[in-house]
């Protein structure tokens, strides 16, 4: 009997999570051995997932717990990719403290995210959610600075709350439908609209919204991202946030026909999502304009990006069989992939600047092009991509997202999205201006570690490559969209 690649992926990640801490016992060998091992494991996992995505569907080992589809593969690839990026970038950051444990926690998070990507059962989803979240609470406080610990506590409290909200929603769903399998739950809830059904949907949106950084559940984001070690912020912004999206796609999006308030067509899932999208992107962009700290700026920009992604959900929730729905969901998925790369590398660049210059205020970026040319170039490319400037990867996501609502009942959302996009050049351009046009406060080249340069080069290659040849990514995303409507 052939071992299917997905099971192999999960087993490999579980093994590395459990075995890495054993390296703590070792006294000799290279300082970063556990990091190298994890990087190798994650690369292998990505390879397996890649082969899995292109190969024929294999028989599942986990019964109805996991859905073996392209949608899951797409998210698993993205989240493992981000973890790999963070792992490589951590080589220089952690020389001394407990690094096998650190990498093991990263591995646990990756495992949680992979399981979550495929979950098709509410309990599996909750377990995966916790498996992903718990290690990140520890990671956020890994610095042993007061700020880092404060961020960790704040994040843990909010995280626990969101888990509780999700659990409550699950219990309601089970009570209403008698099932914890997502397709059955969705069918059951759609079949019996009531005030409890609406409450269940809202609780799911709120619970996942915390991780997705959707306004009004975003308050913890800037503090946590700023206080946590910046490499960990990268994982939170580019990795675990995506997990919130996959959960929302699997659970909430299928319930399109439910009215949030019974018999009131104003409160449809589509309208609720549209308003959340509008609030999220507008608040994120306006707050980002006024930030003085780079990590906070990126955090708010990350909130704004969540708003753009939500736009793509709206036409689907409105009418899943329309062309606009396909365009929107494809746009949302490719924006999720692109955002992981763009925002991930932007955070890592910020991490490197913080690590080398010991500063995270925007003033530290003055004249960065002269001091750290590779970092500055990477950051500039990432920021332009985030702003949606063609021909970079971020352009395609935004193009399809805005296209999906450009004509029809939600055209106001496209106008708002375009204006927000225009607004965002105000702060992205401002940072680029600081790096390339302003003069540095202190002169002199600063060394850029090789590990970072590798990650930067790979990310810039991806951003430009996808920008010029978007066809394969759109292909993958549109085949994943086909999996969204439950059978």
């Amino acid at each position: 009997m052939m071992l299917d690649l997905l099971t192999a992926t999960i087993v490999t990640l579980a093994a590395s999570s459990l075995l890495l801490p054993l390296l703590q016992l070792r006294r000799i060998g290279p300082a970063n051995l556990s990091g190298y091992i994890l990087a190798a494991v994650l690369s292998a996992v990505m390879l397996m997932l890649g082969v899995y995505a292109t190969g024929p569907t294999q028989s599942p080992w986990f019964g109805s717990l996991l859905a073996y589809d392209q949608l899951g593969t797409l998210f698993a690839l993205v989240t493992v990719g981000v973890t790999l990026m963070v792992t490589v970038a951590s080589f220089g950051y952690l020389k001394d403290v407990n690094n096998p444990v650190y990498y093991s926690l990263l591995s646990f998070t990756a495992l949680g995210m992979v399981l979550l990507s495929f979950s098709e059962n509410l309990l599996m989803l909750l377990v995966a959610w916790e498996l992903m979240s718990l290690p990140t609470y520890v990671l956020a406080g890994y610095d042993r600075r007061v700020r880092s610990n404060e961020a960790a506590v704040k994040y843990a409290v909010i995280g626990a709350m969101s888990s509780a909200v999700i659990l409550y929603a699950i219990s309601l769903a089970y009570g209403l439908t008698g099932s914890i399998e997502i397709p059955a739950v969705v069918r059951g809830l759609v079949a019996q609209p009531s005030i409890l059904t609406a409450l269940t949907v809202l609780l799911f949106i709120a619970g996942f919204g915390f991780k997705m950084s959707v306004v009004p559940f975003h308050m913890w984001i800037p503090d946590a991202y700023e206080g946590a070690p910046t490499t960990v912020s990268t994982l939170l912004a580019a990795g675990t946030k995506k997990a919130g999206f996959i959960a929302a796609i699997r659970v909430v999006l299928a319930m399109t026909t439910i009215y949030i308030v019974t018999h009131s067509p104003l409160f449809t899932v589509a309208n609720v999502l549209a308003v959340l999208a509008l609030l999220t992107m507008t608040l994120g962009n306006i707050a980002a304009l006024t930030q003085k700290s780079m990590t906070r700026l990126l955090a708010y920009s990350s909130i704004a990006q969540a708003g753009y992604i939500l736009i793509g959900f709206v036409p689907f929730a409105n009418n899943p069989s329309s062309v606009a729905a396909t365009i929107g969901m494809t746009g949302a998925l490719i924006q999720i992939v692109n955002h992981a790369v763009m925002k991930g590398v932007a955070f890592l660049a910020a991490a490197l600047v913080l690590y080398e210059l010991r500063r995270s205020d925007v003033g530290a970026y003055n004249g960065l092009a002269k001091r750290m040319p590779i970092t500055a170039f990477t950051l500039a490319v990432a920021l332009l991509a985030l702003a949606g400037v063609p021909p970079l990867s971020g352009f395609w996501g935004k193009l399809m997202l805005f296209l999906s609502v450009a004509y029809g009942p939600f055209d106001w959302l496209a106008v708002a999205g375009i204006l927000n996009s225009a607004l965002s050049i105000g702060y992205y351009g401002y940072i680029i201006k600081r790096m390339y046009i302003d003069d540095p406060e202190v002169a002199g080249r600063v060394a850029e570690p090789r590990a970072y340069v590798i990650v930067f080069a790979a990310a810039v290659g991806l951003i430009i490559g996808i920008g010029l040849f978007p066809q394969p990514l759109i292909n993958f995303a549109s085949s994943a969209v086909a999996n969204i409507i439950p059978k």
Binding site: V323, A324, T326, I327, T330, L384, A387, G388, V389, P390, P391, F395, L399, M400, F402, L403, S404, A406, Y407, G408, D411, A414, V415, I418, L419, S421, A422, I425, G426, G429, Y430, I432, K433, Y436, I437, D438, P470, Q471, I474, N475, S478
Partner: protein, 495 residues
């Protein structure tokens, strides 16, 4: 299938890292290499220009067409579609010509970060070629946005004292304008009847239903209006032009502004003819206001460069006015005049900007009241300044007046009242002559020493001005290929 247009786009873009390396290694060789490359591109463009002149494509069709599938899905498709006609080739020709002159003129005026400068120059040139030859809206938008990036750095890194402010203002204005323009394109794509959605201009021309023409026309007006610029959206221009180094001002005025005029003709009128017809009076009014505004503010300017920048606004108003005069009246002279005006303005104002750079370099100031007796202190510069001013104000033997004549007469055939537009050339002549009186004909303050440009530099200005003299005899070089363009636009409007 031809490959020349792709060559014109991607050769400069691909060569720009090479230019960077060569210039970094040896400044002189870098510049020689840049000039050689720019001349090669000029020759290729001249060939394309000549082919389009010799056999103008029929109304609604294009020469040197290249079509490949770029992105292809049942729900979303994009073509890599290039093609040129009598609207694009004059602009492409003037772009490559100005690029050669700008590189030549930059030798003395640009003294730091030169490798980056020349590399960005070619990135800019390639992107502009893409803008002028794309026939797919999204491809057009891609190049349109790429143009912004080198320009942002040109102003921000090599600009004057307020360069940081000017660069940010430039990028914010133009980015906001272009995103709003993109929204209009998306609206059209999704609003088209089932099975007809496309981003290809030839596939959309004449087929966009009346009902969905108005909003995209408005959004494209914002996008192109910011670039042109038209009156309420122009405030980035004086800052950008004044702060940019002189060679870059040449490109801004000579090339970047033309993107706006080109967009109005290629996209706004072509795709949304019925809406354009209905609101032609409004566009003409905006054009008229822009013309007067530019002229009057130029009259008041004391900075020579600011005055020239305002001349650009004034002249670009003619483009908008002429284009929509044809839409309103069917008098084809309007569109022909608009195309002619874009070509003539690029050379006349380009030479003026370059001269203002030399004046600033040699006299240390550009304040008109402080510049005195240039005829004695810098005779060559002064002579050229008089000639270039004559070209800009439309004095024969320079061909610029033909354009203004055509545009104004088309305007009158649309609405008689627009005859007031003849006052604009009068005001233009007034402020140029006043500037010449104050700076050139006045007595020098003290016995200042002669400090003039070299003969070779002076000779380079012949390249700007001679084509304008030639065109007065050979105006058919531009007007003949422009005729099918005008006919096609009127055909779309009238059916």
């Amino acid at each position: 299938m031809s490959f020349l247009l792709s060559l014109l786009i991607f050769l400069p873009i691909a060569a720009s890292p090479l230019v960077y390396q060569v210039t970094k290694w040896d400044r002189k060789r870098g510049i020689s290499f840049s000039i050689a490359l720019a001349v090669f591109l000029l020759i290729v463009t001249a060939y394309v220009f000549w082919q389009v002149y010799a056999a103008p494509p029929a109304p609604g069709s294009y020469s040197f067409v290249e079509k490949y599938t770029w992105v292809n899905f049942p729900f979303f498709g994009l073509d890599y579609l290039l093609g040129v006609d009598g609207l694009s080739t004059p602009l492409m020709f003037v772009t490559t010509l100005l690029t050669v002159l700008v590189i030549y003129g930059s030798r003395e005026l640009i003294n730091h970060h030169e490798p980056q400068y020349y590399a960005l120059l070619f990135l800019f040139e390639g992107a502009i070629m893409g803008v002028f030859s794309s026939l797919n809206l999204i491809l057009f938008y891609v190049f349109w946005e790429i143009v912004l990036i080198p320009m942002f750095f040109f102003i921000g890194v090599w600009g004057g004292p307020r360069r940081k402010y000017a660069a940010m203002k430039f990028i914010i204005f133009t980015f906001v304008g272009s995103t709003i323009m993109l929204l209009g394109f998306l609206y059209v794509y999704l609003g088209m009847p089932a099975g007809m959605s496309s981003f290809d201009i030839p596939a959309l021309a004449g087929r966009v239903p009346d009902g969905i023409q108005y909003l995209p026309l408005l959004s494209s007006f914002v996008g192109f209006g910011v670039k042109l610029p038209v009156f309420p959206f122009h405030t980035w221009l004086p800052d950008a032009h004044v702060e940019a180094p002189a060679p870059i001002s040449v490109l801004l005025a000579g090339v970047l502004l033309k993107m706006g005029g080109y967009g109005f003709l290629r996209i706004s009128i072509t795709l949304f003819p019925q809406a354009a017809f209905e609101y032609a009076w409004a566009f003409m009014a905006v054009g008229l206001v822009t013309m007067f505004y530019g002229a009057i503010v130029a009259l008041l300017a004391t900075d020579l460069k600011r005055m020239i920048a305002m001349t650009s606004i004034n002249h670009m108003g003619f483009v908008l006015f002429g284009a929509f005069a044809t839409v309103a009246s069917g008098n084809l002279l309007g569109v022909q005049g608009a195309i002619f005006q874009m070509f003539a303005h690029a050379l006349a104002v380009g030479s003026l900007f370059m001269l203002s750079g030399f004046v600033h370099e040699q006299a240390g100031t550009r304040e008109i009241p402080k510049l005195k007796g240039l005829r004695l202190t810098m005779p060559r510069t002064a002579t050229l300044l008089v000639l270039a001013s004559a070209a800009a104000m439309g004095l024969p033997p320079f061909a610029s007046f033909l354009a203004e004549f055509m545009v104004i007469s088309a305007g009158i055939s649309a609405y008689g009242i627009t005859a007031v537009s003849v006052l604009v050339p009068v005001i233009t002549a007034g402020y140029f002559l006043w500037m010449i009186k104050r700076t050139i004909l006045s007595a020098p303050e003290r016995q200042a020493q002669v400090h003039d440009m070299s003969l070779a530099d002076a000779a380079s200005f012949a390249v700007y001005l001679v084509p304008l003299v030639v065109l007065i005899i050979a105006s058919y070089l531009i007007l003949t290929p422009a005729l099918p363009v005008a006919q096609y636009l009127w055909h779309l409007v009238s059916t």
